[in-house]
Symmetry: C2
Subunit: 351 residues, 2 copies
């Protein structure tokens, strides 16, 4: 297929146009066939593009006067969808002028704007936010939903499993991903009725994934499964707790190294090796969460991402365009409908 | 008050009577006024006590033929409450023969057995499981519920806040603890209706605690609040995710140190300092979760705790007996009923 063209909300995120343009320049250096559509304050964007010759040649700029801030509620974002950099970037995906949109704007506003403009895919009740998390295994782990849906029923969780598996096939090149449901125990009788119903349906259905049952919070990073599915509340709690704990441990580690002259020397000797740890845990290296289940690809970049982080989010968007993520999700859904005939799965899917 | 007498379920936990007796011996060395009632296989317990002269002199043994295993469902535990080491240890608390019970048996069985024997305190709808977690702050953080109640309403969360604050006063000596509700954002409009209702009530009520609003998963270990309240599902996910992430980071750290000769040397130099990190993160140093809201003190020890872990769980139990935790909880409840007159809190408390 032709080279992906990525719409960039140049005004979303803490670093503004400067950060988004620099990130795109890095993404272009990595994948020279990429093309960009920057949306936002034309003067600011053009000034930044002036510093990146190759990028300027690969980019167009569309002016948008409004900016959706981190505090803006979804309602305000929706009212400004036609004039905001976020809204116009997403509209470019809808119009086919871009294959995907990337924004560092606030998640709730981005979700609402994307959902209204792109609509959910046929057969999907609710979109979900998915991201790749670091693990001790061979590959990253797909986790969803990370906060788009506070309350979920069994049907939502089954759809998240299908979409998450399609995402793992596209982003991680795993033909038949293993999928688990996040729960507070691994025995079949643990957890809520919603989880038990979803597990029963996933166990019975013939799907292009291997359902492995429940997984507890302490196993998320072990690399034992490829996809971890939860409602958006639990998923957000788990994601943020993992981020906070990683920072907590590295803060303690720093204090330990600073506690004596001897340990400071030890730190200097270990520094190159500890750099590996830093790289592995740096959220910028895992930047780029995807809204799955929309008719179009929208990638959320961390508001505080650095240039490399923005480049990674753009890389995620480009890979999903190239691998035609949404066609894969549609196929997985069609297969599911076709194969889950008279068992419990059908009843739940039809709810 | 007189010295606390602790009933020990000698058969619960992975290490059996040997581990529980050795842990008690360590607890006794730390607090020589403690007294013990060991419950379980009399022959096995007496054999172990033979190795610990001082402990033997401070202990009685009550025989119980049955053992509740890690796989036993709550129903089976309840049916064997009269003959199991777990059930008889809890009965000793009910009868007043012990001030608290400590068990390493499975949480669901322990909760069911303790609830049936001791009943919930007047004014408490549901007991909750609370523990102390490490933080970057001056003191540990009380977190509850950690898995006793999968679904909770606003009234439950308010009661957890009151009980958690009473626990912080008793265990951490904080006169007016700060309390936050775990949520997926800090803005008032975030999260479920249950959380919003609980927050509104806690904000309005006159309580011996300072309600600080919502807290996200990434701030749990920052030491910004003394008590973190959640439903048992989210709390369990957060607790286990934190444990798993701490292990994940330390596993990565080990890999980093082993990656080169130079870093191995760095590790040797840093070893004494890194020991601090290990001590801080060792779950044994935070062992001893408490069921709050029962007419009696029951402490859950990790099934896999080592001698020091068991001693710490016994130390938690002894401190809560000395500080009369349940009287403190009863007072907090009475104050709450008295002061939350015609505001929203009352309506919720009366639900």
């Amino acid at each position: 297929m032709s080279a992906p063209r990525i719409a960039i909300d140049a005004m979303g995120g803490d670093g503004g146009a400067s950060r988004m343009v620099a990130g795109a320049a890095l993404a272009l250096a990595r994948s020279p066939d990429l093309r960009f559509l920057f949306v936002g304050d034309e003067g600011a964007i053009s000034a930044e593009l002036g510093r990146h010759e190759a990028l300027a040649a690969a980019s167009e700029v569309t002016h948008a006067a409004d900016v959706i801030t981190g505090d803006d509620k979804p309602g305000r974002a929706l009212r400004r969808a036609k004039t905001s950099s976020m809204g116009v970037a997403i509209a470019a995906v809808k119009d086919g002028r871009a294959g995907a949109a990337v924004s560092g704007g606030n998640t709730g506003a981005l979700m609402a704007t994307a959902k209204l403009a792109l609509r959910t895919m046929r057969g999907i009740d609710r979109p979900a936010l998915a991201a790749l998390l670091p693990s001790l295994g061979h590959n990253d782990v797909v986790m969803l939903d990370l906060g788009a849906n506070t309350d979920c029923d069994a049907r939502n969780l089954i759809e998240f499993a299908l979409m998450g598996a399609a995402y793992a096939r596209a982003a991680l090149d795993i033909p038949r991903p293993t999928v688990a449901l996040l729960n507070i125990g691994t025995e079949a009788l643990k957890g809520t009725d919603v989880l038990k119903d979803a597990a029963a349906a996933l166990r019975e259905a013939q799907l292009p994934l291997e359902f492995t049952g429940f997984i507890e919070g302490d196993r998320l990073s072990r690399g034992e499964v490829d996809v971890i599915v939860s409602d958006g509340f639990s998923g957000n709690i788990a994601l943020k707790t993992a981020e906070g704990t990683a920072r907590f441990v590295t803060d303690l580690l720093r204090r330990s190294f600073e506690s004596s002259f001897r340990s400071k020397m030890g730190f200097l000797l270990s520094k190159p090796a500890l750099h590996m740890l830093k790289v592995h845990l740096d959220p910028n290296n895992h930047n780029g969460a995807v809204f799955l289940g929309l008719n179009g690809i929208v990638v959320k970049s961390h508001g505080g991402a650095d240039d490399k982080g923005v480049a990674n989010a753009i890389g995620v968007a480009a890979k999903l365009v190239r691998d035609d993520l949404n066609r894969r999700i549609a196929h997985a859904l069609a297969d599911y409908r076709a194969t889950s005939s008279n068992d419990g799965a059908q009843a739940i899917a039809a709810q």
